[in-house]
Symmetry: C3
Subunit: 355 residues, 3 copies
């Protein structure tokens, strides 16, 4: 009898052009939203207040982009990265449409690249994943690549088809955000607008948040991300890590949350251009972050502009203590845990008539 | 003045035929559902996706049977088992009707048996409990027996009225599940149907989940189960256990969650025939599980069949490592923490027209 | 360039009469309610059951007063107490109108007193804070005072304007609670009514609840209370405390939850007259509580009366073990962590026609 146990896909199971429908569409609820605030302490007003959402032209508060990413991304772990050795990178992540409580998200991936490693033991799988809501509207679009174990070490395929990625997610002519008529800074908690930020500016976010085992495992289970390294302490004790590894997405959430202090009006993540989990994090680590403004991007819309940011997350070290996230050898310092290049939307001053 | 403090019932407080209305009806919300996913990582599609629920003939996703059990069962702890020495057993648990977000569940119990222990210090109380929703429809029905302290050790009653239990919950002619017109295996995450399972088959579920103090106490508090052993570390430090004991229901939830890998289309728990918490679990334990198909049960309905399963939960040992859950002496091995005999509903292949 | 980082207000930043609109209005959801039950294990029926809420004249279950307090109060931390050395006291807290799921709460504070400390390093700021819902109805009203750092130690203002507080919150002629037609004690879990309580009576609540790091930080993050001492273990390790301090509001919630056993029908907190966090609590502490009836207060309404209570919360010591919360020197004993003087509403017996 064929085993009914799903052990995930290995390198040989993937073919260029293959489409994988990820099971387990997820209906997003108020419970998910509250838990996300509990996990992160996030204070972006658009996502925690219907009153603010109304002022910004929404019927009700949309789901935080990063929460939506986790809930949608989680679906793909079983098929793509259950046997991953490493999540190597992300590119061209975009959030084309808002998602609301009650929406159901699901995802489909296409294999766009395969590269066998020269050691014959593993290979890199490149996928293009598209998340949709229940009306088949695109809500998430991204590419990622993971190093995956091979089943059979002896059979060499020699495959080496590596796709190219754009340096940053394309910014569309139409940005699916309502026209911002006013931003009440007394409600949003932020006094600064698009015009206030300059290229090269650095923001040292002062807060730090410690992560414990219960809260990071609760979050990753909520996202139905079933990568074993995050949950199974018994298994991890037998590895060099000795303990459960924190899901990298949690660090992205923490970095975004910490960036509130300095970027309170940057309520939308428009895109993630690239991201790297530079070092692992474990329970007990305290996460800090700083952000650099890489670029200020004007858009044809008069009410908003975009900032391309680089947010660096640190463990157990404050932003004030770190001048450069890389050492003289060009390698990330050991306390650097995330290097995130992303683009946010910030309202322009002209719109703030009410304050 | 009479003390207003409720110290729970002792053996002498129970009478055969006595009916106990358990206070604190509970309205089930989206928050409870999200928290259950966060506690367990459960991935059964019917309970996490409205889209899947619609396809299966439901208006919206019903509450996971085991979550409903905890929320309803929790009500009875104050009256039945606050002074319990041990939860001895369960029998004939059934889930006659689905429960949805917004429903309010409550429970009533009847004392159906009493047996004083020969040591005069305690006795066994047998109750039949019925949970209903706000429209008085039965949503849970079960029998359980607990060993309870006596108040007065000197007064011997000699009572010995032990009810008999059926070996398994009766399977009704009418099963309150919509006619399954199609199961999209791309959504449910499972390729196997009723006809694929054979008696005697064993499924070694590969995942393991570690439980920490915060998450098991959050869950048990959510269920408003106020048995002190689960929450009060100060009290437990003075006992031979030295620490908080994890509520046995949490192990049932974990075993069910782990069984997803191999039983993804077994979306309904029809009944729990019997259950035994073989050994205690504590924070830091990692739970694994394997399942044996005890029986494949045909039903007059053409769209579904039932599987009688035995799921064994283990602590800190993988399913592959355990051939038999009992030693040569017939006793459970020390790492076996749950022996659950239950019946699930699985769609038949004939219904899967769409895939 | 002016720093965009908000480091909170210092003593010199406050002026008598200054009004501060606290940003981040919060829409309260079912997720918040479930999380509150998970954090506390609270069993007050009015807040967990729509059926009970209907019986008591509500359309649906109102939000627990203490949860609402945390969600509203959390808004003011950024502006008032981010640089607090100590939260010195509360007075005249009232809950004028019920709050429901879907409501959005926000808060405004007025500075009503300022007193520079003689050491020149800090001062006490007194504020009067008013929380409203989305219809601008008052839902919370209180005064508090905090000791705050000065920015400039050399410039002495000599300001010394200290407001006076009433010994207890005024009890209004109109209490915004529906006329209680019946209390079904089988549902509420409590047999005792207003007439059953007498001045001087003491209730030793028997349960104890242990708090862990994940659950107290999840709660405080849910409340969007960003006081660093609660989240940042890395920072706290460098202080004499050596670890994260539990937010005092969590102890208020625990004390209230524990008081259920003895005060199950006291479903409404009408007011908090004063409160003192006598000693700090840390992860691993087990909270116990006892309550004293300070006063039984008749009201013109025939269906309800009020009890003025003093609930003392203890850490790692049962209520039975503590006769007096203060030593012979008049100081709080080291295990006393909360001294709360508050007023609850309890239905009168006359209304319990149905049971």
């Amino acid at each position: 009898m064929i085993s009914k146990i799903n052990l995930g896909n290995f390198f040989e199971d993937f073919k260029i052009g293959q489409k994988i429908i990820h099971p387990l569409p997820r209906t997003i609820s108020d419970g998910d939203v509250s838990l996300y605030i509990a996990f992160t302490g996030s204070r972006f007003a658009l996502h925690s207040s219907d009153v603010v959402a109304h002022q910004m032209g929404y019927e009700k508060r949309p789901i935080d982009d990063i929460l939506m990413f986790h809930l949608t991304f989680g679906k793909s772990v079983q098929d793509i990265s259950l046997n991953a050795i490493a999540n190597l990178g992300y590119a061209e992540i975009s959030f084309p449409n808002p998602v609301y409580v009650g929406d159901t998200v699901s995802m489909i991936s296409e294999v766009i690249g395969l590269k066998e490693n020269s050691n014959g033991k593993s290979g890199v799988v490149y996928v293009h994943s598209i998340g949709v809501n229940q009306n088949n509207q695109e809500v998430l679009n991204f590419k990622r690549w993971v190093m995956v174990h091979k089943k059979d070490l002896l059979i060499l395929s020699g495959i080496n088809e590596v796709p190219t990625f754009q340096n940053s997610t394309v910014i569309e002519e139409n940005i699916n955000i309502p026209t911002i008529k006013s931003v009440d800074t007394n409600l949003s908690g932020g006094k600064y607008f698009f015009e206030d930020y300059v290229k090269g500016e650095r923001l040292n976010h002062p807060e730090g948040i410690t992560i414990d085992n219960s809260d990071h495992t609760l979050a990753t289970k909520l996202y139905q991300n079933n990568a074993k390294v995050h949950f199974n302490d018994h298994m991890m004790k037998a590895t060099p890590m000795k303990e459960r590894l924190i899901y990298g997405g949690i660090i992205i959430s923490m970095a975004r949350t910490l960036s509130f202090n300095g970027l309170a009006n940057a309520q939308w993540v428009y895109a993630i251009n690239s991201g790297s989990h530079c070092n692992p994090t474990y329970a007990g680590d305290t996460i800090y972050a700083y952000s650099e403004v890489l670029e200020t991007i004007n858009h044809k819309r008069e009410d908003i502009g975009l900032l391309r940011l680089r947010t660096i997350a640190l463990k157990n070290q404050t932003a004030d203590e770190v001048e450069n996230c890389k050492g003289e050898d060009g390698k990330y310092l050991p306390n650097v845990v995330l290097d995130l290049d992303y683009t946010v939307v910030v309202p322009k001053k002209i719109t703030t008539s009410c304050n």
